[in-house]
């Protein structure tokens, strides 16, 4: 699953280069938003979902141990 999520993120970066909408403003979403803008708003939404999946499936659990590490007042760990 971990690799699959990273694969999807790389795929999102690839489909970000939407040459298929380059030369058109149509369809207009809701009669207002040109497709080139609507598509990239969707890319932002997809980024949020995919990073949500990464948080769920690719989370570095080993670093959660560091939550318990105490740090002295001068910033040094102890």
């Amino acid at each position: 699953m971990r690799l699959f999520v990273y694969f999807l993120i790389v795929l999102l970066a690839i489909v970000h280069q939407d040459f298929w909408w380059w030369d058109t403003e149509k369809p207009l979403i809701g009669g207002v938003v040109p497709i080139g803008l609507a598509y990239h708003a969707l890319v932002s939404l997809a980024a949020a979902i995919l990073w949500g999946l990464a948080v769920k499936h690719c989370w570095p659990h080993d670093l959660d141990d560091d939550d318990a590490t105490t740090v002295s007042n001068d910033g040094a760990a102890s």
Binding site: I9, W21, P34, S44, L63, D66, S72
Partner: protein, 556 residues
């Protein structure tokens, strides 16, 4: 006067918040610089977003869309959504972990340890500070100009107007020196007393303010133009090229032709004057040419800068736990979308909006960054104008505060405490030292801003490129055991040299449209610094076993 009152109320609210958060200050250096590593998810999200989004998110996005069309969202915003979250997730959490385990406060402390080199800090320090200073100047100057332009008529008996044409300052406006002093003073007060916790709370408040005001502004402008559909139809009729990324031969290019007519008139007037009275030659408008796929793609490198911003590093270290990052990683792209989509649409509408037969943005209007303010002034009442000004100031100050504190922190920890010896400075002395440096930096920035070096605005993208070109260094430091001290030096020096060569080639930033190999220069610089890091690391002796075990422990 309405706008002046709204700005004052907003700044008073901010100061009140600063006073409240300063009561939480525990008096220790760890609390001043890192909020005792106790910032939770929501506050972390707001402070990271507020810090990364400058005033550019509101006025720059509108202006770029006005100039280049809706393609700027894909180049600047959706790439940022993907790449910023990647930096938070892949780099930020790791650095937070090292910071907590080894007690780091600044980036340079980490790099000195990871690459086993004290001198690396000496090389990095001036580069990092040098790349932040133009940002500070841009922030302070933008704040002064914003207040000056929005308070015309407030105090006509105190301040006379000056200048002619579009750049004229109306009588009664709060002058630049006073407006920028007010902003510096407010930021200084809450940073001085509250440290990084004060900036986190102020950023949260300011981020909420500029997100809400962005949406309200969009909604009001849309209504005034007869609804969103009507506004879009005007663009499709007169300037359809801004709704896509290409320009066709049969496009009407109404705005370009309108701008060109005004240019011809200005040119004729300029030529008719005697040489001694001519002044600067009018600049011809750029004919729209669309966005090339390679240019569009190369923007992906710019948001890598987030991985190397020293002020963001400091915010990462304030997190209460690794889990505190989760909300930022997920919600950051959404917040970018919420702020940018309305602004980009307004920018596109501004090219073609006509009321009573007259364009809302007059032909020949040559300052894209003023398009949003102009639209608000032309279409709404002073109340919304004042609120938008407060929103713009919020976006400016939410970046300024972190940058002021971060440079104060770097001088204190990387120079004074490092060379005096950590044990020779008491905790209280470190806090005092940090505060003194913050005062000095704010005063120096204010002084430099009064010289109004106009060229500093062109440096913005070059600063981003500089930070981005150092991204391979931090990524390798965190993930590649084999990255060596010599590799780190090679990376930093190559980035600096290639950056300088391309910067010089661009006329020292004077050519805003400068591309190298049809790409943003940052793509070449990142490629060169990565190659130098990898080749030199592989050719030199691996880091010591102790360092490898420290940063890449087997049990982890």
């Amino acid at each position: 006067m309405t706008q002046f009152i709204i700005i004052c109320v907003y700044l008073a609210l901010l100061l009140g918040l600063g006073v409240l958060t300063s009561r939480m200050f525990k008096g220790t250096a760890a609390d001043y610089f890192l909020a005792s590593r106790g910032i939770g998810s929501f506050l972390l999200l707001m402070s990271l977003f507020g810090t990364t989004m400058t005033a550019f998110a509101l006025v720059g996005s509108t202006g770029e869309s006005f100039k280049e069309g809706i393609g700027v969202y894909g180049m600047m915003a959706s790439w940022s959504g993907i790449v910023h979250s990647a930096c938070f997730f892949l780099v930020g959490i790791k650095l937070w972990s090292f910071g907590k385990r080894f007690g780091y406060t600044t980036q340079i402390q980490f790099f000195r340890d990871r690459f086993e080199s004290d001198k690396l800090g000496v090389v990095l320090f001036p580069i990092l500070v040098g790349l932040i200073v133009p940002y500070l100047l841009i922030g302070v100057m933008a704040a002064g100009v914003t207040i000056e332009r929005s308070t015309g008529g407030a105090f006509p008996s105190f301040f006379a107007g000056h200048g002619v044409g579009p750049a004229a300052i109306p009588a009664g406006a709060i002058p630049f020196w006073l407006g920028s002093a007010g902003i510096c003073l407010v930021v200084l007060i809450y940073v001085f007393f509250g440290g990084v916790r004060g900036t986190a709370w102020a950023n949260a408040f300011q981020t909420i303010v500029f997100i809400i005001l962005g949406i309200v502004t969009f909604s009001v402008i849309s209504d005034e133009l007869g609804g969103a559909k009507a506004a879009t139809e005007m663009v499709l009729k007169d300037n359809p090229h801004v709704m896509r990324r290409t320009v066709r031969e049969d496009d009407p290019l109404t705005r370009y032709h309108g701008d060109h007519k005004v240019f011809e008139k200005r040119m004729a007037t300029w030529e008719s004057k005697p040489e001694s009275e001519r002044g600067a030659q009018p600049i011809a408008p750029h004919k729209p040419k669309g966005i090339s796929p390679l240019h569009f793609l190369s923007y992906m490198f710019i948001p890598l800068s987030v991985g190397m911003f020293p002020h963001l590093f400091q915010h990462w270290l304030t997190a209460k736990s690794a889990k505190s990052f989760k909300l930022s990683v997920i919600a950051h792209p959404l917040l970018i979308m919420i702020v940018w989509v309305p602004c980009v649409l307004v920018g596109a509408w501004a090219t073609s909006a006509v009321i009573d037969g007259k364009p809302v943005i007059p032909y020949g209007f040559s300052n894209p960054n003023a398009v949003l303010v102009k639209m608000v002034a032309a279409l709404t009442d002073p109340m919304l104008g004042g609120l938008l000004t407060a929103g713009i100031l919020a976006a400016i100050m939410s970046s300024l505060d972190s940058q002021f504190l971060c440079i104060g922190s770097m001088f204190t920890n990387d120079i004074v405490a490092h060379y005096a010896g950590r044990d020779r400075l008491t905790d209280k002395q470190r806090v005092l030292c940090g505060r003194i440096f913050v005062v000095i930096i704010v005063a120096a920035t204010y002084g430099l801003a009064q010289l109004r070096p106009g060229s500093v605005f062109t440096l913005g993208v070059w600063c981003f490129s500089g930070f981005a070109s150092l991204f391979p260094l931090v990524f390798a430091a965190v993930y590649w055991k084999r990255a060596t001290r010599a590799g780190a030096y090679a990376c930093v020096l190559t980035a600096a040299v290639v950056w300088w060569i391309l910067f010089a080639k661009s006329g020292y930033g004077s050519s805003r449209q400068f591309l190298f190999l049809d790409m943003m220069p940052v793509a070449t610089i990142v490629g060169a610094s990565t190659a130098a890091l990898v080749i030199v690391s592989l050719a030199t002796k691996a880091p010591s076993a102790e360092t490898v075990e420290r940063f890449f422990p087997k049990h982890k």
